[in-house]
């Protein structure tokens, strides 16, 4: 288990947020928690980059938000993937996989061994 958290690659945060919202609409804290869980706490997401990223995704029309009640009955803003967002997620996943493959190839390592 590495002692330091991994640095986030550019663009990866957007991808992870979209992926987090693919399952269910959730609030910003939920997104954060999902990413931490999904990456086994290896990726530390800063609030300082999460929220601006969420807002930017909204502005681009990939994510929408509305106010609702949280699981503990608090008023919270819930984010959800739009149709465009779903499409964008697919593209970005495909792109990322292609990108990773190319980099692995160049480094001459197998994903499985990394």
């Amino acid at each position: 288990m590495p002692t330091d958290s991994l640095e986030l690659l550019r663009g990866t945060l957007d991808l992870l947020i979209l992926r987090a919202l693919k399952i269910d609409p959730t609030h910003g804290y939920g997104v954060l928690k999902w990413i931490e869980r999904a990456t086994g706490d290896q990726l530390k997401i800063e609030e300082g980059s999460l929220y601006p990223a969420l807002y930017r995704l909204q502005k681009r029309g990939w994510v929408t938000s509305e106010w609702g009640l949280s699981e503990n009955n608090r008023r919270a803003r819930f984010y959800a993937l739009t149709v465009d967002g779903t499409r964008q997620l697919e593209t970005e996943v495909a792109d990322f996989v292609r990108f990773a493959r190319v980099v692995f190839q160049a480094l001459d390592v197998q994903p499985a061994t990394a």
């Binding site: 609030h27 804290y29 609030e47 929220y51 807002y55 502005k59 919270a76 803003r77």
Partner: protein, 898 residues
């Protein structure tokens, strides 16, 4: 909890990014804190840790708020744009599908708004628009008022100099006079109008040339022959050729160098006149031989003054200052200031002309009131049409509501409709206003100076028209819109939108609209009738002279540089040449012409001081005339004798006074043989005749004192030739008179040739009366038309609504006549109530027109009766068609329903 509800309620009025961002961060911190507590941290510690992990909250919050604001702005803009787009396209589609309805609304509103905008153009020009010079809000006019007649008159150059010296009151002042001159570049001279301005004319007013330069005080002091053209004249004469600068223009045959062209915004300072050019008055000295002699004379008063009040000086202070100035000057110049004093008034209150500016707000008020009422009638009409349609569309709207359209949304749709309609009518309105002002500006007038009403459609007029049409659209749209939105869904859907009675309230509202239309329309027709009667009356009042069989023509020997000494011979030959034309009964020359503005004023002095003229002085109008003028003009010689050819410089000075003078100076005594002087120490003039009075300046004026002098003793080179024809058509003599004048001297410029009747009808004297009658009639007819259409619409609609009832009655054996009577009775009730209210309104309101009517009472029986007959008759006529239709209902189809 409570706080939440409040906030959500606020969100109804739009997103609040700041609060949202704050809430979101708060929620985040709370969640983190709970998590940490769940992991076993103490509350305080957990809170601190949550904050620490969050990082720089303030900075992030600011960043998020910025992003959020950008986003919500674009989202809401997009949403409302989409909604608007869909509303507009829906409304356009429905309107296009009902072209008749759409056109009637657009024309109804458009014509009335156009009438409003046209009148506003005049209001703008004469009451609102700043004068196109620097600091127009401090600009004041200075003039003389005649204590007896109350007439505003112009001033002399020495008075201007005295005003300039009031330098605690006025910062600066300009003076000018208008000159009719002969203008020529090459070829024949034409008559022109030139302003002679004081040396500082342009510099004080802050006016610059659009091309070249304006003249400077140095030009004026050097008496440089320089001339600045107005834009209109430059366009007319040089076709806007910049090379005109430097060319020579001959003014009364004196060469002047063109140094500049003015911008079209500034057309000199002479009210209602668009001059050809402006020269320094010092240089004008060379143009008109009279000027140098008279420029220094306190009594020579052709000048007008505009002066700048010093900042902070009120017009009241200026008034008392010029009053004091009068008191200071009067002892030195008793003959000039006999019964006259200097007055001052802000420039904007002296329009269109100082002498008549007291009437301006009245006239504007009357016409504004009339077009305002016409607009109300139009709004009522449109409201009615929309109401009818709203009723027809009740099912559509009910369905909309049923499938979830909020009342607000329905109202918005209907308002979009009325706003679109008012936008379209604005186009019609603007077109009409353009036409009206164009027509007025192009109106041919029998006046010898270039008249300009200064009416133009500027941004202010457009803004006004847009505002009015917006208001009209809302006014006529809002009531039907609200009523429609309120229609209960279930009820409408149940009776299939073909309701037998569309709700009593709405029917009553429509009836009230018709009644008020009839009332207002009656008021408008009465006003129109009063103006027509006034115009008609004006042609019939005894003017004290004859308007028949008279041909007029002006000759100014000064224009042709005929020296003063030679003018007598030329004038004698003119009289002889014209007098011998067959068909000419008599001919005379005169320097004054009634109701044309051509007359001079002088002061007469008598040695005995009668009570009516305690100083022994009296300001009178004078005219130099040839023998026979009194008979030619159709005045009457009441006593004594006319002038003869022997009354010349070699014989004792004589004069003919009119009744006003005789009664004022020698009451209960024979005026013949009385003596007066024209200067305080001048030679004695003997009164040899007594003449009747004439209307000199304004229709309906109080008779003015008038003195006639023999032209041989008081020579003048600018005269009117009055030719009395034997036949009824004096204009048949035009060619012969022209030939005769040319035979005397081929270069003589004969201008203003027209009959006295034309001069009166198309000249300024009757102009305002006539234009008033035309306008008032047009507005009255507009109101009438709309009322008729409105009444017709309401009755047709009510007949259509009651078709089933009529059908059943027919089926039960009722006669067609009964149906007709029934509908006509309904109509008659509405019209009669409208007429009754209208009559009360008219009696109350037409009193305001008293000051603009000539010789007609504001409760003139004929005007009231005429309006009653026309409106009542046409209203009943327009109800006949719907009534007849009621009698033609097919019982079977009506009962079956649609």
């Amino acid at each position: 909890m409570h706080r939440d509800r409040g906030r959500r309620y606020l969100r109804f009025f739009g997103a609040r990014p700041e609060a949202d961002v704050e809430d979101e961060i708060g929620f985040h911190l709370e969640m983190r804190e709970r998590e940490l507590i769940a992991l076993g941290m103490a509350t305080e510690e957990a809170r601190a840790e949550a904050r620490r992990r969050f990082g720089d909250r303030a900075r992030l919050q600011a960043q998020m708020q910025l992003l959020e604001r950008e986003r919500t702005r674009s989202v809401s803009r997009l949403a409302s744009w989409h909604a608007l787009q869909s509303d507009v396209s829906f409304v356009v589609r429905t309107l296009v599908r009902q072209p008749l309805f759409t056109l009637s609304v657009i024309l109804t509103l458009g014509l009335s708004i156009g009438a409003n905008a046209s009148i506003f153009t005049a209001v703008n020009a004469y009451l609102l628009k700043p004068f196109p010079v620097r600091d127009p809000d401090r600009l004041a006019a200075v003039a003389i008022v005649d204590g007896k007649s109350g007439m505003i008159e112009s001033v002399s150059y020495p008075m201007y100099r005295s005003v300039l010296q009031l330098n605690t009151i006025y910062e600066d002042a300009v003076a000018w006079l208008g000159l009719t001159v002969a203008l020529r570049t090459e070829g024949d001279a034409v008559r022109g109008f030139v302003i002679g301005g004081s040396d500082n004319y342009f510099s004080a007013l802050g006016v610059r040339a659009a091309l070249g330069r304006v003249y400077t005080p140095e030009d004026a002091h050097a008496r440089a022959p320089v001339i600045v053209l107005t834009n209109a004249y430059w366009t007319r004469l040089f076709n806007r050729d910049p090379l005109a600068i430097g060319k020579t223009l001959f003014v009364n045959e004196r060469p002047f160098t063109i140094i500049g062209v003015l911008s079209p915004k500034f057309n000199g300072t002479q009210p209602l006149i668009l001059p050809d050019a402006i020269i320094p008055v010092e240089s004008a000295v060379s143009v008109d031989a009279d000027i140098p002699k008279e420029l220094e004379s306190m009594g020579w008063t052709p000048f007008r003054i505009l002066a700048y009040l010093k900042p902070g000086v009120t017009i009241e202070r200026a008034r008392s200052a010029v009053e004091q100035l009068t008191k200071d000057l009067a002892p030195q110049y008793p003959e000039v200031f006999a019964d006259r004093r200097l007055v001052t008034e802000m420039e904007i209150r002296t329009r269109p002309e100082y002498a008549v500016s007291r009437l301006t707000p009245w006239v504007a008020g009357v016409f504004f009131g009339m077009v305002g009422l016409a607009l109300l009638v139009a709004c009522a009409n449109v409201a009615n049409l929309l109401l009818v349609r709203a009723t027809v569309r009740r099912s559509e709207i009910a369905i909309r509501s049923a499938i979830g359209a909020t009342p607000a949304r329905v109202v918005r749709l209907l308002l979009t409709e009325s706003l679109l309609l008012s936008a379209a009518s604005l186009v019609v309105a603007y077109g009409l206003a353009r036409f009206c002002t164009g027509w007025l500006n192009r109106l041919p007038l029998a006046i010898d100076v270039p008249i300009s009403f200064g009416l133009e459609l500027d941004g202010r007029v457009f803004a006004y028209a847009a505002g009015v049409s917006l208001l009209a659209g809302l006014l006529s749209g809002v009531v039907p819109a609200l009523l429609s939105a309120r229609a209960p869904v279930s009820e409408v859907l149940r009776d299939g939108g073909r309701s037998g009675s569309a709700g009593r309230g709405r029917t009553r509202l429509r009836s009230m609209l018709v009644v008020s239309q009839v009332a207002v329309s009656f008021l408008l027709l009465v006003s129109g009738g009063l103006f027509i009667r006034s115009a008609h009356h004006a042609t019939e009042i005894d003017l004290g002279f004859s308007r028949d069989r008279l041909l007029l023509g002006q000759v100014d020997l000064a224009l042709n540089r005929v020296e003063e000494g030679a003018s007598r011979q030329v004038q004698d030959r003119l009289l002889e040449a014209i007098g011998t034309i067959p068909g000419v009964e008599r001919v005379a020359l005169s320097t004054f012409l009634p109701l044309s503005g051509n007359y001079d004023t002088r002061t007469v002095f008598v040695d005995e001081h009668p009570p009516q003229a305690p100083d022994g002085v009296m300001s009178v109008a004078v005219g130099s005339v040839t023998p026979g003028l009194i008979a030619t003009l159709g005045m009457h010689l009441l006593e004594g004798r006319d002038f003869t050819a022997q009354d010349d410089t070699a014989s004792p000075p004589v004069a003919i006074v009119n009744r006003v003078i005789a009664e004022a100076l020698w009451p209960q005594r024979d005026p013949i043989g009385q003596r007066l002087r024209l200067r305080k120490d001048g030679p004695v003039v003997e009164v040899v005749g007594l003449s009747s009075n004439v209307t000199l300046v304004l229709l309906g004026e109080e008779d003015r004192p008038m003195l006639l002098l023999p032209i041989r003793q008081h020579p003048s080179r600018q005269t009117t030739i009055l030719t009395k024809s034997r036949g009824v058509n004096p204009s048949a003599l035009t060619a012969e008179v022209r030939t005769a004048v040319a035979a005397v001297n081929p270069t003589l410029l004969l201008y203003g040739v027209r009959t006295m009747a034309t001069q009166l009808d198309e000249g300024l004297a009757f102009f305002f009366v006539n234009i008033g009658a035309t306008l008032a009639t047009a507005i009255g007819l507009l109101g009438l038309l709309q009322t008729i259409v409105g009444l017709y619409g309401v009755l047709s609609y009510s007949v259509a609504q009651r078709a089933r009832e009529f059908g059943i009655r027919m089926a039960l054996g009722a006669q067609a006549g009964a149906m007709i009577r029934d509908v006509m009775r309904h109509s008659a009730r509405l019209v009669a109530s409208g007429l009754a209210i209208g009559a009360v309104l008219a009696v109350t309101l037409t009193g305001a027109m008293r000051s603009v009517l000539v010789g007609v009472s504001p409760t003139d029986t004929l005007a009231f009766g005429g309006a009653l007959v026309v409106l009542g008759g046409l209203a009943m006529l327009s109800s006949y068609l719907p009534a007849w239709r009621a009698s033609q209902v097919e019982p079977a189809s009506a009962v079956r329903g649609d």
